[in-house]
Symmetry: C2
Subunit: 416 residues, 2 copies
């Protein structure tokens, strides 16, 4: 076992040894923070503290793109240094002065995102969403073959905690003669992971699936907020556009693939009617352990509720495509990836009713509103509602790895 994964490893930062923390010394995710009037800079989460990367001589500047571009050998060395530094009591003196309480810091978007694309790798989500539109034929013929995805808007990706303004847009009721323009009435969340690209590839040079994970710096939670009514009216024939581009929320900590190594699992087990992937998406090792066992939860806190209510508990292992397949597909036509680019997984729902990653699925398109503990019901999101995504890896003989929250509170549309 890589010593950085040893579940017995303890940190001299006491809060990192709390079994409930998302950030034990086995995790060491990267983020960007600022305190007071100081410039934004890179840090590592450890318990309830942030270790300024200046502790190891690293001046990242306001984003982690250069660190992302540096590649796996650099990340692995850095992880070893940080693991040792934060666990060895003899190094406390050197490192402790670089700790900042997370409560006193403002967390920022960890990377400057050049391009963002979002996939549709959750087969249960694709089935559930498809069933609402095409009851007899929920999955289109290409789904089993193509890692379906679309280009998204990078400018409106915000860090956890940023309010989400309910979008205005064109919508059309099925029986209305013409569309109307106004606030979306079917605002939804989507429970996803985001993959942050490390080293890129040159335009015209595809990335083989066996090497694809070398291009992934790490993983965040991702909420691809969606206005279902705007989306339904606009999406033919060029796909989702303004129904998505008003905002997406990213969690502030990039959990590295190194930290997730103990939670690798086999690729999605395909049933009889699900064909083997084409050769450019097939790698034996990737099939054996190219997916990740990451529990994904979505919570809702309506105004006045003391505690968030869990809407969903899913797991990334339900993804039909592995992260390597997603990256290899994106670059298969020669498209160039750049450090800091973001690839969303798409909504990852599980096969059971308690594992649905969007209101669209939970309420069957709004037809069966859900009941909240305070007695209110929700078909879709209301102003003042806060959606909180959480992610966690747990298992016997391994330290638990968390992702921190990806949260956003819905604000009313701008006055017109």
């Amino acid at each position: 076992m890589n010593p950085t994964h040893d579940p017995k490893l303890q940190s001299w930062v006491e809060s990192a040894n709390d079994p409930a923390t998302d950030f034990p010394v086995q995790n060491l995710p990267f983020g960007v923070f600022r305190t007071g009037k100081e410039e934004p800079r890179g840090g590592v989460a450890i318990g309830d503290q942030i270790l300024d990367l200046a502790a190891v001589g690293l001046k990242t500047g306001p984003n982690l793109n250069k660190l992302a571009a540096a590649g796996r050998p650099v990340w692995t060395s850095l992880r070893a240094v940080l693991s040792k530094g934060l666990s060895d009591p003899g190094q406390k003196k050197r490192f402790a002065k670089y700790l900042v309480p997370m409560k006193k810091a403002r967390l920022l978007l960890p990377v400057a995102i050049g391009d963002y694309s979002d996939f549709y790798a959750g087969i249960y989500h694709a089935q559930n969403a498809g069933r609402l539109f095409r009851p007899d034929n929920p999955l289109l013929p290409n789904y089993h073959w193509v890692p379906i995805g679309y280009h998204g808007r990078a400018s409106s990706i915000v860090v956890s905690g940023t309010p989400i303004v309910r979008p205005l847009g064109q919508t059309k009721a099925p029986d209305a003669p013409s569309p109307a323009f106004g606030p979306s009435k079917r605002l939804d969340f989507e429970l996803e992971l985001g993959f942050v690209i490390g080293p890129g590839n040159a335009l015209g040079k595809p990335v083989p699936v066996a090497k694809a994970l070398d291009h992934v710096f790490g993983v965040t939670l991702f909420n691809d907020w969606s206005a279902r009514d705007i989306q339904a009216w606009e999406y033919q024939p060029l796909g989702p556009f303004l129904g998505k581009s008003f905002a997406s929320t990213m969690s502030p900590w990039i959990v590295t693939l190194e930290a997730l190594e103990p939670f690798r699992c086999a690729a999605f087990a395909r049933s009889g009617d699900q064909p083997a992937p084409l050769a450019y998406l097939t790698d034996e090792r990737d099939q054996q352990n190219g997916n990740f066992d990451i529990r994904l939860d979505a919570h809702l806190r309506a105004p006045g509720m003391a505690r968030p209510h869990r809407l969903s508990r899913s797991n990334f292992r339900h993804a039909y495509w592995t992260p390597a397949q997603i990256v290899a597909h994106q670059a298969s036509n020669g498209c160039n990836l750049r450090p800091g680019d973001l690839l969303g997984s798409g909504t990852i729902s599980g096969p059971t009713p308690d594992a649905l990653g969007a209101m669209l699925e939970i309420t069957q398109g709004g037809k069966n509103p859900l009941m909240l503990p305070n007695g209110e019901t929700r078909a879709f999101l209301e102003d003042g509602d806060e959606v909180i995504l959480r992610g966690r890896c747990e298992g016997p003989g391994r330290a638990s790895i968390g992702f921190g929250d990806a949260s956003g509170l819905v604000r009313s549309s701008p006055a017109r």
Copy 2:
């Protein structure tokens, strides 16, 4: 008349007075160039020369994003200074030392493009393309109401002259039991304009249509290369993705809206079954003169052909939506635009058979190959073919304004 538009204005740069030039002193488009080992920097096209913007004390750095962000008052002042400096013989001595022959310079992408989205504003293209898929119902019900668009890939936008590698991808023949992976057999071009965003808007704050052109720095030619076979198999339900993201070509010169002012024209004249736009897309002045009369040509030069063969002559006035409507729609949901963002118009075909902006339309999906002057035929593009887009504004009592070329030569797919 604004003196910078005066057709009688002559430049002391002789080549700028040639009636055939794209770059008379009335144009003054902005670009980025480099010579030898010097750093890239901003310049203005004048005849067959480039005036380094250092001539007016402007150090742009490697892209024009800061100039784009500066806004219309700055652009207008700068235009006045450049117009005077390049026409007044008394200023020749001061300016001439900043001239660089265009032949000796390498032109680069003029802006760092954060986000790129592409619209579908060419109603004749939408009808022609739609007819191939849905003979009885070429335009979907939303077309007349919504400026349909999709997010595109910014990383693979290249400047004119950059070779285009034929993409590999999944395609499926209608009668094949399963898809195959290989070089696209239906590679196409798209004849478009690109609108470069100047000052942006804050997330959550829409841009009113009456103010939308204040956010447009200028206009380029744009070729949204498309692999029709990849696109056809992948595009349901999330829209075009790898069929587009392998490359798009942008012309190097950003022609400002100031230069195009004499070529404004009325918005598309809607017929009886075409409804008036919704209020958020309606501005009286925009309806009266918010569109632009820009001739758009597409040429093809196959290997061995001495001269390019014109495939198409269209005009931007056939666009169903004005640039202001496109910008206002993009930001209507609160989506933030940033300086340097690019909004493509979509393929702008005209109503006649000689005005079709893509091979898909010209050859009716490949069914009726076109004949080249050298006797060869083309259903779609072959390796070695060069596509050259040109744009020009002409009219009585006005100096002609050109765009320069947006060209790209098709190279074979990478070996596998």
